[in-house]
């Protein structure tokens, strides 16, 4: 499977959805024959052919159609490129996802600056098709390419004292013009409890729809936590820090009554300004019910045993 490097990729090359779907069917057919040749390598992009990575707790939703590429790459909340959801696709051309360094800091045996090319070599990316539920009550189904965050974490050997992981987005108003407006306290910061970060569902995504991440989707590396609201999925990460105390994430800092640290998808706890009971899947007319933990309860609910779900909004 060929994944192009970002500098080879142009918007004009976007495969129309119909062609893309045909190609998938073709590849699925070929995949049977190719079983055993699971990993291909190209210029530092290591990609596994494992469509069986579709993870879902609700079998009925397992075959949810994927949201069209066009929607996934033009409807984005990425305030670093503007607050309107159409703006990141228009403005994110200024972001330079190469060269890129991810700093690993804090309570770990192997802190340091790591080149994105090395990271891509160390951690083979596979396809994960996840539902994506925004706190604004819309949702998508997205084929990510990535690797479990826990593989990344294990490599840097955090100390047992580290209880949380904190992530930081690039801070550079030249590349991210939205940072000139003080709508949020830049740079964007997110965090996870260590057990959440180590959950096998939690990903570092580096690709989408069999391409490297587009800038507006958080190139070159971003977080994906499918049972949490989308804003936890911090984009264009430059720093990973192992810490003892719970990080203060950007949206919690901005509006603590509306966004907390946990942000677990929960239809029973409304956002103060709208209901979270239903969501509109992008491309559909009628709203559908939202599932607790976005349908991933079996894999994650145990982590929150004994906690008051009302504090996990």
């Amino acid at each position: 499977m060929l994944i192009k490097r970002p500098d080879e990729f142009k918007v004009s090359e976007i495969t129309p959805e119909a062609v893309f779907l045909n190609r998938r069917e073709f590849m699925a057919a070929g995949g049977v024959a190719a079983a055993g040749l699971a990993v291909g390598r190209l210029d530092g992009w290591t990609v596994g052919h494992e469509p069986s990575n579709r993870l879902s707790a609700q079998p009925s939703q397992q075959d949810d159609p994927q949201t069209p590429f066009q929607a996934v790459t033009t409807y984005n909340n990425f305030y670093e490129f503007g607050t309107d959801k159409s703006e990141p696709a228009k403005n994110a051309g200024t972001l330079k996802p190469r060269p890129w360094t991810v700093k690993v800091e804090g309570m770990a045996a192997k802190p340091g600056d790591y080149n994105i090319e090395d990271i891509l070599k160390w951690f083979p990316a596979k396809e994960y098709v996840y539902r994506h539920r925004c706190v604004e009550a819309w949702s998508m189904v997205i084929p990510w390419y990535g690797f479990p965050l826990r593989d990344f974490i294990n490599r840097f050997e955090p100390s047992p004292k580290a209880k949380f992981v904190e992530f930081t987005t690039l801070m550079d108003p030249k590349q991210m013009p939205g940072q000139r407006d003080l709508v949020l306290d830049w740079p964007y910061v997110e965090g996870l409890r260590m057990d959440e970060a180590m959950n096998p569902l939690t990903l570092f995504a580096v690709g989408i729809y069999q391409k490297p991440l587009l800038n507006q989707n958080g190139a070159p590396i971003r977080l994906v936590i499918p049972w949490k609201y989308g804003f936890k999925g911090i984009k264009s990460i430059v720093k990973v820090r192992f810490v003892e105390t719970q990080p203060l994430n950007t949206w919690q800092l901005a509006a603590p009554s509306e966004y907390s640290f946990y942000a677990n998808v929960n239809p029973a706890v409304d956002h103060p300004r709208w209901s979270q009971a239903r969501e509109r899947r992008v491309g559909e007319f009628l709203k559908r019910p939202t599932l607790p933990f976005n349908g991933f309860g079996e894999q994650v609910a145990a982590m929150y045993k004994g906690m008051d779900p009302r504090t996990l909004y």
């Binding site: 949201t67 066009q70 819309w138 709508v183 509006a255 709208w274 009971a277 491309g283 009628l286 709203k287």
Partner: protein, 215 residues
């Protein structure tokens, strides 16, 4: 062509056509996939924005008559006000019939529980009696009370801006711009009224307005 002919045969049709452009554009883009990934939300945002914009334009009429003295714009006011109502109704119907698809229990909960929706609902509701009494018959029938009733437009405008302000997640620049415009338009009215009350009922330099023209 006389002034009144110009208004009647040029200005009025031109304003009418221009005011339909946003709705036409929404419809055209809607049928051609031009409203983005969430067309229903896009329609909601745009119709709301135009309802507020037409309210503001309507509120410009009185200052334009008083300050540069463009008295004739009064002839466009009813149409502009009705377009504000038209876009507010599109906004409201899109919410009820498309976004919520008549899920009455959800709608009731929204209106009762969520202050930003409550104020939006009140803002739209207040426009109904104004639209209903905008015809010549009702103007004559209500007489002086017509002017008093139509001052509700200020309340509706203020609630509409508040609705927008409370809706946005973080970037408040646009609703705050609307708020400044509204406050400015209201301030222009106060400034001009003050001297009048100091000298009541003089044979003034400015002709006294008929009751129907207040606002």
């Amino acid at each position: 062509m006389t002034r009144s002919q110009f208004i009647r045969f040029v200005a009025e049709p031109a304003v009418f056509a221009a005011a339909l452009v946003p709705a036409g554009l929404i419809a055209w883009q809607g049928f051609h996939g031009g409203l983005g990934a969430e067309p229903i939300r896009e329609i909601q945002l745009r119709t709301g924005w135009w309802a507020l914009t037409f309210l503001m334009i309507t509120l410009c009429v009185t200052p334009l008559r008083r300050i540069p003295g463009w008295n004739d714009v009064i002839k466009l006011r009813r149409m502009l006000g009705l377009f504000a109502f038209f876009y507010a109704m599109l906004h409201f119907s899109n919410y009820i019939g498309i976004d919520q698809f008549f899920a009455w229990s959800e709608i009731t909960k929204d209106i009762l529980k969520r202050p930003w929706i409550t104020v939006g609902f009140v803002a739209v509701t207040l426009l109904v009696p104004l639209a209903a009494t905008s015809n010549g018959f009702m103007i004559r029938k209500l007489g002086r009370r017509w002017g008093a009733l139509h001052r509700l437009v200020y309340v509706s405008g203020a609630l509409g801006v508040l609705h927008f302000l409370w809706l946005v997640k973080k970037d408040t620049r646009e609703p705050i711009t609307f708020a400044f415009i509204l406050v400015g338009l209201l301030a222009l009215r106060l400034r001009r009224r003050a001297p009048k009350s100091a000298k009541p009922r003089t044979e003034g330099a400015t002709p006294r307005e008929p009751a129907t023209a207040s606002g």
